[in-house]
């Protein structure tokens, strides 16, 4: 070829027809670019109803005081704290999938990590609501932070509640950073293919990402380092939450097994929630070719593993209560099984310990309706696990003067239901605003496979 004679040819070459867009782009963009259907609007409507109910009750509670909750001496931690711990637990799947499975190079995480990360963030937001709801006098909630004040008083850093504040705040921010960094290349993809307000939104969020090698290089490094930081963080957050209980001398709480027990339970419930949410999402948006049964089966294996760990922890708790010879501990655990809260305890044991064992069978692991039912039951069981731990512990302390009974009131249950609505609304909006599948990560696999399968470069689909 002779040197081109300047602009005219260059202009001609520039008009080469642009090849059709990649299949992965189109598949994933279809999910969030299409106008929301009736089902979506209906779901949002229902959730708005639930959220409105919860919000109204909360406002009433702020006006009236915590008395409208079922708290009675000596039980002042009730459904709010139970649900707080539940949501913090749910929040563990996302970062675990993104960070730990990334470090282990588990390729199958690619299809699910975005939705799991989004769930992490929304679950942490939901959990944080309960800190505000539970303290009652919400206008004094900032007392928990070490801020300079006229009395020069500082917070008590020896209290597990302070550790919890720092752990949850760190987890929120780090998960948000992780989520955003992962989203960055996909935002650029969306920016290149949209117009109007969406282009403005994705364009400003994408920060001018163009996928240059310098950008990818620092991106890879960033993801690696964030994974390295987030791995111990995931394990620490629920450990710290467990110390809220384990550092107290309440029978049934004061156990060294609490940290690993809670972490396993958190991963267990988080994976169950990812399955409960993603099975319908996959069905509705027909993502079977990206989110395959292989992914779901692997997640079921995780459920089986963590269920076994949790069951082991249940067993060890009883064993230590007996082996310690401490009367209060023995009584606490006897009352769990046969006392006033026996139903909650048995729900917890059956849902978390017995039913997930069905996943030993490949037939059941790969049968999607069964997986959906079991994962939902696990969510129920994990809520009851926290209920059992918190309520039975507080209801029978060492002295008959501090024995009592707690039943959640309708107000509390409405706020709990409102929290589920809050979580669902955030996720539904996310589905229609951002790519629920990490496009560039899936594409990486697609390009790799194509290069290996043909040995010869094939054009874009």
């Amino acid at each position: 070829m002779t040197p081109p004679p300047g602009e005219s040819i260059a202009a001609m070459i520039r008009q080469t027809p642009v090849p059709p867009d990649s299949q992965t782009n189109r598949d994933v963009m279809n999910i969030f670019m299409t106008t929301p259907g009736l089902g979506w609007l209906l779901l949002v409507g229902i959730c708005l109803g639930g959220l409105g109910g919860g919000a109204a009750v909360w406002i009433y509670q702020i006006y009236k005081g915590l008395g409208i909750a079922g708290y009675s001496h000596p039980i002042f931690w009730g459904a709010y704290i139970v649900t707080f711990v539940f949501w913090v637990g749910i929040a563990h799947a996302g970062t675990l999938i993104s960070a730990i499975l990334f470090l282990f190079r588990a390729r199958w995480r690619n299809a699910i990590n975005r939705s799991a990360e989004a769930m992490t963030i929304f679950a942490v937001f939901t959990a944080q609501l309960f800190l505000g709801i539970h303290v009652g006098r919400i206008w004094k909630a900032y007392f928990i932070l070490p801020y300079p004040n006229q009395r020069a008083l500082w917070v008590n850093f020896k209290s597990p509640l302070l550790w919890d504040t720092f752990a949850i705040s760190t987890y929120t921010l780090t998960s948000l950073i992780f989520f955003y960094v992962g989203l960055l290349p996909d935002l650029a993809i969306a920016r290149d293919r949209t117009t109007g307000w969406r282009k403005a939104l994705y364009g400003s969020l994408a920060l001018g990402w163009q996928g240059t090698s310098r950008q990818w290089k620092s991106h890879n490094r960033t993801v690696l380092h964030l994974s390295g930081l987030a791995t111990p963080l995931v394990l620490s957050v629920h450990s710290v939450v467990s110390w809220d209980f384990a550092m107290a001398i309440v029978p049934g709480w004061h156990a060294t097994i609490f940290a690993p027990y809670f972490v396993a339970g958190a991963i267990f419930s988080g994976f169950a929630m990812v399955l409960t949410v993603m099975i319908p999402v996959r069905r509705i948006f027909s993502l079977e070719h990206i989110l395959t049964n292989y992914h779901f089966e692997n997640m079921c294996r995780f459920l089986l593993l963590t269920s076994t760990i949790v069951t082991y922890a249940y067993f060890i708790e009883y064993f230590i209560a007996w082996y310690s010879g401490v009367e209060a501990e023995k009584t606490a655990f006897y009352l769990r099984l046969f006392g006033p809260y026996w139903l909650s305890t048995w729900i917890m044991i059956v849902c978390n310990g017995v039913i997930p064992q069905l996943f030993w069978f490949k037939k059941l692991r790969t049968h999607i309706p069964t997986v959906f039912v079991i994962s939902t039951l696990i969510n129920v069981g994990m809520w009851f696990e926290r209920y059992v731990i918190i309520i039975t512990g507080l209801s029978r302390e060492f002295n008959p003067a501090v024995w009592g009974h707690y039943t959640p009131t309708w107000y509390e249950l409405m706020i709990v239901a409102g929290s589920f609505s809050f979580f669902s609304i955030l996720f539904l909006i996310f589905l229609k605003l951002f790519p629920v599948i990490p496009i560039s990560e899936v594409k990486e696999l697609v390009i790799h496979e194509r290069a290996h399968a043909s040995g010869q470069p094939a054009g874009a689909h």
Partner: protein, 167 residues
């Protein structure tokens, strides 16, 4: 100097082209890639990314802040709690640990922005939406007299098309 854009469909082709171009001394080049490929980044710039320094500084700053804040605040208004020393290291380790992660994470994000030169309002030469589809773009600045040679070199490395673009 003219800027040439080569379009590729496989990372292997890009790596080959980058290696050849660099071997011929055309070092003013950049690659647009739809997904991360280590081999491309390695070929363009083999030096390790500087993001690591940001993470290290952030983490160290976090751990120091965590201990300094807790210890200083406990000593500023000393109250005996649980019979423990005012500056009690084991419980403060939890705070220091969390701040290590927090500062490390924030600094890593800053590192991504600084090292990756983001945010940027400039559209790179020859950038188009096809490079956020499934194709790779290699832009290289070459002197006028070498255009033909580089064009041939790109095509020899499996470039599906080569064009001149406005710098």
């Amino acid at each position: 100097m003219p800027t040439l854009l080569g379009v590729f469909t496989t990372p292997a082709g890009v790596v080959q082209a980058v290696t050849h171009l660099k071997g011929r001394g055309f070092t003013n080049l950049d690659v647009y890639s739809p997904a991360p490929f280590d081999e491309i980044e390695e070929a363009v710039d083999p030096k390790p990314s500087k993001v690591r320094i940001f993470t290290l500084v952030g983490g160290l700053l976090g751990v120091v802040t965590g201990y300094a804040m807790t210890i200083w605040m406990s000593l500023d208004w000393p109250i005996v709690i649980g019979g423990k020393p005012f500056a009690s290291i084991p419980p403060y380790t939890v705070i220091a640990f969390e701040l290590t992660i927090l500062f490390g994470g924030i600094f890593t994000l800053i590192g991504l922005l600084v090292v990756g030169r983001l945010p940027s309002l400039k559209v790179g030469p020859g950038y188009s939406a096809r490079f956020s589809a499934e194709e790779f773009g290699l832009v290289v600045e070459v002197p006028e007299r070498d255009v033909a040679e580089v064009d041939g070199l790109l095509r020899a490395s499996q470039a599906t098309e080569v064009s001149l673009v406005a710098a």
